[in-house]
């Protein structure tokens, strides 16, 4: 089992992700530089948060053309596990590895705060180990409003591909609990093959008792269990 974190110019949550993966038993984590053509045998590849290439033009739009992304796409094609968090999610959508797109937040402002999310499926490596109905996980993004066309949304729902929805502290999904105006309150999705995951909230920011929030740990537990076998 081996984990790797991709580093684009402008990534800034890469070290946070490495630290949490290692603390959760993910072994020494490979740092995969964007100019490389080799995933160095990683079973789980994580695209971290940040502002790859400054997020200029559109978030994630330039990163998708970096050399490493070709390897990530091939890895996903082979059924390998890929997780994109925040900017990583945006890159995966721009690259066509996940359906949909992330638009400017409804309020047109960057938002950083703890939000509540509720898992929408148990049938993925990412969500399999979550025991609770509601998790408190922070978001930090300006472009996180999930958007997909009507047919795409139907396919997502029919395929049980919605990972998380924004909700209130009791787990109720409604407009006031949706921080960015995402369609159908979607906070994260997976592909049809159920091996590529994307989510706007940052589980790596909720995985340390010293920081007072460990709700994100269960996501890593599930992922690491899946690559351990």
């Amino acid at each position: 089992m081996k984990c790797g974190v991709v580093i684009f110019p402008g990534s800034n949550c890469d070290e946070d992700m490495v630290q949490v993966l290692e603390a959760q038993g993910g072994g020494p984590v490979e740092r995969l530089w964007h100019k490389e053509h080799d995933l160095r045998g990683c079973d789980l590849v994580v695209l971290p948060g940040g502002f790859s290439y400054g997020d200029y033009l559109r978030s994630g739009a330039i990163a998708r053309f970096s050399p490493i992304l070709q390897e990530v796409a091939a890895h996903a094609e082979r059924g390998g596990l890929v997780l994109g968090v925040c900017n990583g999610f945006q890159v995966l959508c721009e690259a066509g590895l996940l359906p949909g797109a992330l638009l400017h937040n409804g309020g047109q402002r960057f938002i950083c705060r703890n939000v509540h999310i509720t898992p929408a499926t148990k049938r993925t490596a990412l969500t399999s180990a979550i025991a609770r109905k509601v998790l408190t996980i922070p978001i930090a993004h300006g472009e996180g409003r999930y958007h997909i066309d009507a047919a795409g949304l139907k396919r997502l729902k029919d395929g049980d591909q919605v990972l998380f929805r924004y909700c209130d502290a009791e787990g109720n999904v409604h407009e006031e609990a949706n921080p960015n105006g995402s369609m159908d309150h979607i906070a994260g999705v997976c592909n049809e093959g159920r091996n590529v995951f994307g989510m706007m909230p940052h589980p790596e920011r909720a995985a340390d008792a010293l920081l007072g929030n460990t709700d994100g740990m269960a996501l890593f537990t599930g992922l690491l269990k899946a690559v351990a076998v």
């Binding site: 290439y53 400054g54 200029y56 033009l57 330039i62 053309f65 970096s66 050399p67």
Partner: protein
């Protein structure tokens, strides 16, 4: 009164750094297009307005550009106005 449609381009001033354009220029070799350089990125805006003649329409659009659509400290603008059937 007639209805006009305006097409407006708002661009960063030539002398100003355009970080966005620079980053996009830098990505062109990754797409196999190294011959593309000098990218600068602005905004294209379209709008409709009612006015008694073209001259008035142009004056209104110009005012909107100066007051809101462009930040003249950083941006320049140009526009065309055409009458709609």
């Amino acid at each position: 009164m007639k209805t006009y449609k305006a097409s407006i381009d708002v661009m960063p001033h030539d002398n100003l750094l355009d970080p966005q354009g620079k980053a996009v220029s830098g990505a062109m070799p990754n797409l196999g297009l190294p011959e593309i350089t000098g990218v600068r990125i602005g905004k294209h805006i379209t709008l409709r307005l009612e006015a008694k003649d073209r001259k008035t329409a142009e004056a209104k659009v110009d005012e909107a550009c100066r007051k809101l659509l462009a930040n003249l400290i950083m941006e320049k603008y140009s526009f065309s106005v055409e009458e709609q059937a």
